[in-house]
Symmetry: C2
Subunit: 334 residues, 2 copies
């Protein structure tokens, strides 16, 4: 089982408009809504890859209820195995194989789960994003999450800690979750930014997956190879830097690699980073070599950019891309 | 009791951002949500003015449930009397005077009530609007609305028919509702636009309240006095044309008046037209003269522009403006 933690889950709404023009009124013809927050996106891709996946984090209020309802009924991007309900708090489903949900181990909170709104211009696909801040989390709700997390860790083959912190959560929250995973000897990947990333790294996660902007903010270095080395020095055992359309740069105890798509692609990059995390974690759990993990991560994130639905991956594109991703050894770290 | 009908209710979300910049990401620091759709806005103002108010129309799905919850608990703009529950389907409350809800006689539908999103630039107050289309309404749901409306009409002193039609509702729906009100001898105000307005007028409502754009679209005439006369000829017994910051132009069987605020004001015009409708209807039910009805309508809509919260009115501003609204007889209709 792979566990993903999303402290600031979201109901993701996508609105399609001809073009967003500030200070005018728009009739939205096409809308979609689905469970969001980075860890839920990672879980959806893991589920589509056939992995048992459990999600924890917080959900509350009417939007939280709707998010959980969609989570229970949403089909993953592609057929996966039926997931066992691993915790008694999650809904048990008897859905057919092609609508297997991830297992819901979210903690119910008093506050209202946030919405995010992506307004996509129909012609260009360019997206304008509006993100609500998320509910205030109380001390007893955080304690309930920690307790649920400790219960789930012994059954997990890997854990991903994903996204921003909602109001009320202390800035060292991820550091605390990293330490608990390390103590339980469960490989832990941290995907966040800013001060929560800085503090989390000091707790020595197995992997971090920053993009170049997050790396520069963390280390002050603009050059990715230099920033990646610096991030390792700050405590991360391995760093997978996302270079956007140029793929990934990996600096891990076993070596260093560059992985890139066979050709540049155009599309919507929403969720591409989350698909890369799913590729890395599934490859780890399956015991793949580093080059194969990176190949999968790049193929998945490229197939996500190519998907017509933001955040989903195009399975045919994924399978076509997988053998064509270019992986090269990178000059050893200085 | 005053009845308002909102066929396309909405959950109105307002997001405050420093400035909306297309194709970038925005962290929304301030959000508000409340029951919306023109008829619900009218009802909220009527309730604040101390009138028993019943709302009907459609609500469904998770957003419909949230809308009804907010409707049951929302305090009106200012203190009003306790509203009796006039229909057994609405929630009966024993709230104190300052949180009296309007009475909920909405019809539950299978589809999901729409959201509207107003993105307000903090510095200028300029607003960008994103409106979902609303749920598909089935034939039996429309029949249930008609039946509920017929039950409510005998107890109503006036009725307002407000806003756009959701998908699935035939374009003569308002004409049908106007005819039923006329048959029951209940004064009926129609506030919509486009083809539903054109068809509705032919059923001879007592009043319509178009703005200059809606009037021009209806009649082809750009000049408000001319367009107002033309709209009467098409069937409306009385026309109250909204001239935006210049106030109202009234052409009714009893005469013709211009009413304008004492001085121009700056602010957010969202809901100003709905407040004007509430002023007209409450003045009708209280037996005020036409000049006094128009005075109230202009003072309420100006106090709505001045309110810091979109769609609410500033009661102190309203009371200060009321005696200062300028009402003049207008040249008799040609």
């Amino acid at each position: 089982m792979i566990l993903t933690v999303t402290l600031n889950t979201a109901l993701d709404l996508t609105y399609s408009v001809p073009a967003l023009v500030p200070h005018t009124s728009h009739r939205v013809r096409e809308t979609s809504e689905r469970p969001g927050g980075k860890g839920l996106n990672v879980a959806r891709v893991l589920s589509a890859l056939g992995h048992d996946t459990v999600v924890t984090g917080f959900a509350g209020g009417p939007t939280g209820a709707l998010l959980r309802e969609l989570l229970a009924t949403a089909a993953p991007s592609a057929a996966g195995p039926v997931t066992d309900a691993l915790v008694d708090s999650g809904p048990v489903t008897d859905s057919p194989v092609d609508s297997t949900p991830v297992t819901d181990a979210l903690i119910t909170v008093a506050g209202n789960t946030r919405r995010t709104i992506a307004v996509a211009d129909r012609a260009t696909g360019d997206t304008t994003q509006l993100n609500e801040p998320g509910p205030q989390i109380a001390a007893d709700e955080w304690a309930a999450l920690l307790s649920r997390y400790e219960e789930l860790l012994p059954g997990a083959d890997a854990v991903a800690l994903c996204g921003s912190l909602p109001p009320g959560i202390h800035v060292s929250a991820y550091a605390e979750l990293v330490r608990a995973a390390r103590a339980a000897k469960v490989p832990v990947l941290l995907d966040t930014s800013g001060e929560p990333l800085r503090r989390g790294i000091a707790a020595r996660p197995d992997l971090i997956k920053p993009n170049t902007e997050e790396l520069a903010q963390l280390t002050g270095a603009q050059e990715p190879a230099r920033a990646t080395r610096d991030a390792r020095r700050r405590g991360a055992h391995g760093v997978i830097a996302s270079l956007g359309p140029d793929g990934l740069l990996a600096l891990v105890p076993e070596g260093s690699w560059r992985a890139r798509p066979p050709a540049p692609v155009r599309g919507n990059p929403t969720g591409a980073g989350d698909s890369a995390v799913a590729g890395l974690l599934s490859g780890l759990v399956e015991g793949l070599s580093w080059p194969d993990r990176l190949r999968r991560a790049v193929a998945l994130s490229t197939a996500t950019v190519l998907s017509p639905t933001a955040g989903d991956f195009d399975r045919a594109a994924y399978e076509e891309l997988l053998p064509r991703v270019v992986v090269e050894e990178h000059a050893p770290a200085a």
